[in-house]
Every structure is written in C-alpha cells, then in structure tokens.
Symmetry: C2
Subunit: 418 residues, 2 copies
C-alpha cells in the first residue's frame, strides 16, 4: 500500500465542530492524524479534553514545525483569514469551514495557494456534508456544465418549508428555526441571503472559474416573503425556495444569482425540505444529477472537515481547473429575468422599468404583478427589497437578450402597439 | 501549481463509451491525457478516428512502455480481467467500466493492487455518473455508516416505473425499455438482478470492507413482479423498487441483499424514476444523504471514466479503508426479513418455514401473504423465485435476531398459543 503523510494538526476553535472533530480523530487511529494543540480564546472555559492540549497563543500552532496541518473552525472571519494566510505562508496545509472568510478573501486565497503550493480545502464551507466542491472540481469539465441550482442555506429553507407547507407566518417560522437551532439569534446573515451568496461565490469558482466578490452577485433573502406569496405559490401548484443558480448562456457567459424562486412540486429542489440542502447539476455528459443532505450543524460540518483531512493524506488539493486550464467564464449583465413582484402599494413599484408586464393582480389582499426585467435594473436598485415588496423568480427565470427582444416585439404586437 | 503526471492512454474498446471518451479527450487538452492506441476486435469496421490509431493486437498497448494508463470499456468480462491484470502487472494504472468482471474477480483485483502498487479505478462501473465509489471511500468512516440503500440498475427501475406509474404489464414495460435502449435484447442480466448484485458486491467493499462473491449475496430481480403486486403497492400508498441494501446490525455484522422492496412515496428512492439511479446513505455524522443521477448510458459512463482519468493525474487510488484500516465487517446470516409473497397457488409456498404470518389474502385474484422469515430460508431455497411467485420486502425489512424472538413470542401469545 502507498504510504501516507503523517498529519499533525493544529486546531483553531473548540466549539461544537472542533470538539466533534477531536473526538472522532481519537476514535479513528487509522487516519494517522493527531491533534497536537488547540488554540482557543477563553482558556477558563471547561473543556472535555486535557488542559495541556490548549493554548491561547496562536504562534504555538502556526510556528510549530511539527504541525503540518492547520484546521480552522472559528467564527470570526477576520481572525480566520489571518490564521489561514499565515499557516499557508508557513508551509502548512489548511482546512477551513469559514465560508464568509473564503468568500471575502477569495482572490487572495487563490494567490496564496499558487504562491505557497500548499493545499487549502474547505468542503465543509458549502452544503456541509454534501461533497459539492470536490464533485464540481473532479466531475465536471468546464464546457460541459450547463447549470447548477442549489439550496445552500438550511435556515431559510426551514423557514420557507414552514411557511409554504404549514401555513405559518414568517415570524413564527423564524422563531421555530431559532428554537431548533437552525438560525442564529441575529438571523440577518441567513435570512437576507448573505450566507447563501457567500457560499455561491466560491461554488461559482469551482463550477465556472468565476472569481466575483459576493457584492457583485445579485442576491436577496426571504425576509419579505409573505403568507400571501405562499398562497399564490399554492394556487400555481408551486413552492418557493431560496435558489442559488448559475446557468451558462449561449454567448458563453454565465448568469448567476441567489434569489427566491418558484419551483414546481416535481422539481428536485422541491424535494429539499426543512434544514436540508440540495444541489442539482446539469451537464451534457452526466445529464442531471442531484445531491441532497444536511447543509449545516456540528456533525455534518465535522464530517466534511474530516474528509478534507483524509484527502490531505494523499496530497489532494483543489486544482481550480475551470480557472487555470480554461478561459474562465464571465458573469453576465445582459440577461433578463422573469419575475413575480408582490407589494403593499403600487407607488413603490417602478412599472416603467420593466420590459413588459404579463400579469397584473391589483384586487387581491396582497397585490402582485408578473413581468420581465433586465438584471441590471435589479443590480443598481433596492426598491424590490424594500417596503415589504417581495420579488420571486419564475421557474425558468433567465431570458437571454435576443430572446427578450423577440418576445418584447411579440408582446407589443399583441397589445396592438406596433 | 503542482505538476501533473502526463497520461498516455491505451484504450480497449471503441463502442459508444470508448468513442465518446476519445472525442472528449481531444476537446480537453487541459487534461494532459492522450490516447496513443486503441485495441479493437473488428478492424474492418468503419470508425470516426484515424486508422493508425487502431490495432487488434493487445500487446501493442500492454507492452508499450510509453503507455502508462490502460482504459478498458469492453463487454467481455473474461477478456477484460486478462487485460486489467496484465496491465497492472506491467506497471500501468487502469480504469475499467466492467462491473461483472470486477465483481467476479474482486479478491484477485484487490491482491493485484497491493502487489503492484498501481491504481485501479472503476467509478463508472456502479451508478455511472453518480460518484458513489469515491464518496464511500472518502466521506464515510467505517464505524459511522449505518446503512446504504440504492437503486443501481436503470433498466429494472424503468420497467418498474412503467408498471407502477402507468399500469403497464411487465412484458410491455420490458419492450419499452428495450426500445428506449435501456435493456439488453437478452434482458436476463438486468431483469433477474445479476447486474445489480454485481455492482453491490464491490460497493459493499467500499462501504463496509466486505469482500463477498456475488453468489453469496441474497438477490433477486423483478421478473415475477405482477400488475397485481402494483395494485397492492398502490393500495398501501407505496411503490415497488429493486433495492440494493446494506445495513449495520447491533452485533457489528452487516445485513446485505438486493431484492424488490416496497418504498413509501416520500422515501428518497421513490423519487428515482425511469432509468435513473439513486443512493441513500445514512451515517452518524453526515446524517442522511441522497445522490441521484443517470446510472447507465454512453455519456454518463464516459463522464465517470473521465473523472477516473483526471484522478490518476494526481496519483489517486482507492485505499479500501474499511478493509485495510479496520476489522472488515461480516455479512450476517442471522437476520429475519419481513416480506410480502404473492403467488398463484398456495401449494408452492412452504408456509411452515415462516417464523410467523401477519397477513393472509386468499380471496384476491392474486393471492398473497405477509410474514417474517429467516434470511437463511431464502438463501438455500428457490421456491420464492419460481412458479410466478414474487417476494417483495417490506419497508423496513430487517429484523435482528433478538427482536425476532421477542416479536414471535408476542405473536404466539396474541394467538393464545402460549
């Protein structure tokens, strides 16, 4: 058998994930990976491990030549980037679970990996137990990947499930999510889509070689989804999901965004209920694939961290094939989106910015319209996130430029205008 | 960036998979993998590639020192084993798609890998485009894997979908599968479960370190599933699937079999329709995971072969962790199964071999019973496959020994016998 690298780990963070990892590694000596030192913030706290294991001095880990792997599972993205970049520069391989840190420092992290030649793995940072990053890296060649659609945030999916399936109000659903431990006490990161777009940032790198900042990707959360939107969804035999989507266009660019979306009951993503995550990948070769599993929580996260550690034993590193070996794709700004917009007061809605409007419901308790709008109209404005307005994408929301022109002409003709 | 091994490939077979692979490799120079020579049987046949590429002499590939990778996608399992074992002995890495060959020669192939130190990869041999082997290898540690349930044969799943969802007779459904290219003209390998149990053989190795021969695993196909069974399934709000199942028992052994099974509509496997495959993995850490995709066909298979070739670039090989690093699990012979048996004539059914019978329907057009039987009673007999008898497992079919004794006592008490 091949001989494996002996891994000596310095662990940052001993919360639920860190402690879980420590326990598992103790139980699986076959992994030939041992934790030499754990760096924590609060040395006074009682821990289920020998006191000699702990330190508050990060240099005890980062400057120890015996330690060849740094595992970082802390909650502070600034501190995490400092740890990760120092560790890579010091010649250590790194495993991280910090999606926010990775999204915000993606360009630097890519450069650091090239510069140092070390492995930097973060399977647990997106969809936790679903091996989405490694599968995107290994199984899909650039030119063959048509689209990726995913539910990457468990809290919002839990809340939407409660609203749609059980008819709960948003606030009740959020409270339930918090009680079940699926949402932070400050839920803004989840609910307003920040967490989802952070994950989408680096998933786009592995899927399409795109290195955009989170801020440059169109996104929203579910904060304005109303029980009346759920009623509309039901009447259309659909559900509402917060979908992260990327789709290759005929011009070679990629349309990508994270927005609430209507999905049909028989769609793979409709199968994903409560706190679960799901990823649907369409490619020319493998056709349609669907991955489903727990996207958060201490054990699923620890399990993904463990798989990264196991991969380090044979020197695995992400190759970023779509970025290095191909001409990376560009994010498109020239697409149009088919949207549903519900609102309290029509005066908040800039009707004239739509290409055309297909449906108009002004009598209902909650008013709404359905129409087509340029993605740029949403990128540079916030009216669609404010004043209790909610914007939900149609099932196949992306309309390319040429098709939009054709459809627009047709709709004007039908209206007798041309 | 790390430097990759330059791969020079000798390809055996130029059918749909082989030719697909040839085309893709030509289109992706970034893979740094080129096909130097292709060995075929019939040199006269017109091929979409330069004639100089082809040979009928296998030594032109196996003895060429330039060729460091043999890819084998032929249909003859005896010839395939000869090619694979010679290639490994000659110091070449090997990628194979021949499930039957792998299942039948598993022990030898394991030994050859240890002896030669070469990589032998076969992701395409089970569930084609679903990366199930690599995920079982990399993501699940032995002690944490509770169960694996899978639909691994697309033809039988297509046939069952047509019977259950569309009310077709078995023969009509089979014909449709053949017309759509999902079943061989001699469909016995698929329909009677041989293909599924072959795949299950080596999936059990990666999941649990079990190295059993296909013959030692209890299996059947769907040849006797009747439209009346479909009616029973419907009345129970269930479907029938050919399920390959492995489940860890409290005594540390593993119950494993491939048999038709009733599944609930909300079960992950019920989601898998037509020619698709699906795998549900339950583990302590990652909880429940579900992988779904195309399990056969030229492109999905070529896509999986391609991912194996890509993995060879960084020297990847299966570690068979469950086999090498742990005490491998044993197949259990001490479990009991909750089964449904439908039949034409009661005289074919050895009622006395059941532990107890829970339901008895003698009036229906198609008669059936439901009861509990020892797995050994099925392993050593064939009555349940013959005379148009069909045996279908209940939703949670596995009953461990102690539990069986408890339940049996209870049922005898209820019957007033003790």
């Amino acid at each position: 058998m091949q001989t494996h690298k002996q891994l000596t780990i310095g662990l940052f963070g001993f919360g639920v994930v860190g402690e879980g990892l420590y326990k598992v590694l103790k139980q699986t000596p076959s992994l030939t990976a041992t934790i030499k030192k754990v760096c924590i913030k609060n040395i006074g706290k009682k821990r289920n491990a020998p006191a000699s294991l702990f330190t508050t001095n990060k240099e005890d880990l980062l400057s120890d030549p015996d330690i060849n792997v740094i595992v970082e599972v802390i909650d502070d993205s600034v501190a995490a980037f400092d740890i990760v970049s120092t560790a890579l520069r010091n010649g250590k391989d790194v495993v991280s679970a910090s999606k926010k840190m990775i999204a915000e420092n993606l360009a630097d992290l890519l450069q650091l990996q090239q510069l140092t030649g070390r492995s930097f793995l973060y399977e647990s940072a997106a969809c936790a137990s679903i091996p989405v990053i490694r599968n995107l890296e290994e199984y899909y060649d650039n030119d063959l990947l048509h689209s990726v659609k995913a539910i990457v945030n468990g809290s919002t999916n839990f809340i939407l499930t409660k609203i749609i399936d059980e008819g709960l109000e948003f606030k009740q659903a959020l409270l339930l999510a918090q009680q079940a431990g699926f949402a932070e006490s400050n839920p803004v990161l989840d609910v307003e889509g920040f967490d989802a777009v952070n994950k989408w940032t680096f998933l786009l790198t592995h899927a399409y070689g795109i290195t955009a900042s989170p801020a440059s990707i169109l996104f929203n959360g579910i904060q304005n989804i109303d029980i009346n939107d759920a009623i509309v969804a039901k009447s259309r035999k659909q559900e509402i999901k917060l979908v992260a989507q990327a789709q290759k266009l005929t011009n070679g660019e990629v349309a990508a965004f994270v927005l609430p979306q209507f999905v049909n009951h028989d769609d793979h993503l409709a199968f994903v209920k409560n706190e679960y995550n799901g990823v649907v990948i369409e490619s020319s070769f493998a056709d349609k694939q669907f991955f489903y599993g727990k996207g958060a929580g201490s054990f699923p996260t620890a399990s993904a961290v463990l798989s990264d550690i196991a991969a380090l034993r044979y020197g695995y590193r992400y190759e970023y094939k779509k970025l290095r070996d191909h001409t990376p794709h560009k994010l498109s700004n020239s697409i149009y989106l088919r949207v549903y917009v519900s609102f309290d007061d029509i005066s908040y809605i800039p009707k004239e910015r739509f290409e055309w409007i297909e449906e108009w419901h002004a009598q209902e308790q909650r008013k709404y319209l359905a129409g087509v709008i340029a993605i740029t109209e949403l990128q540079h404005t916030t009216w669609w996130k404010e004043n209790n307005t909610s914007l939900i994408l149609a099932t196949n929301p992306v309309i390319e430029e040429v098709e939009t022109r054709r459809l627009k002409k047709k709709s004007l003709e039908l209206a007798g205008i041309i």
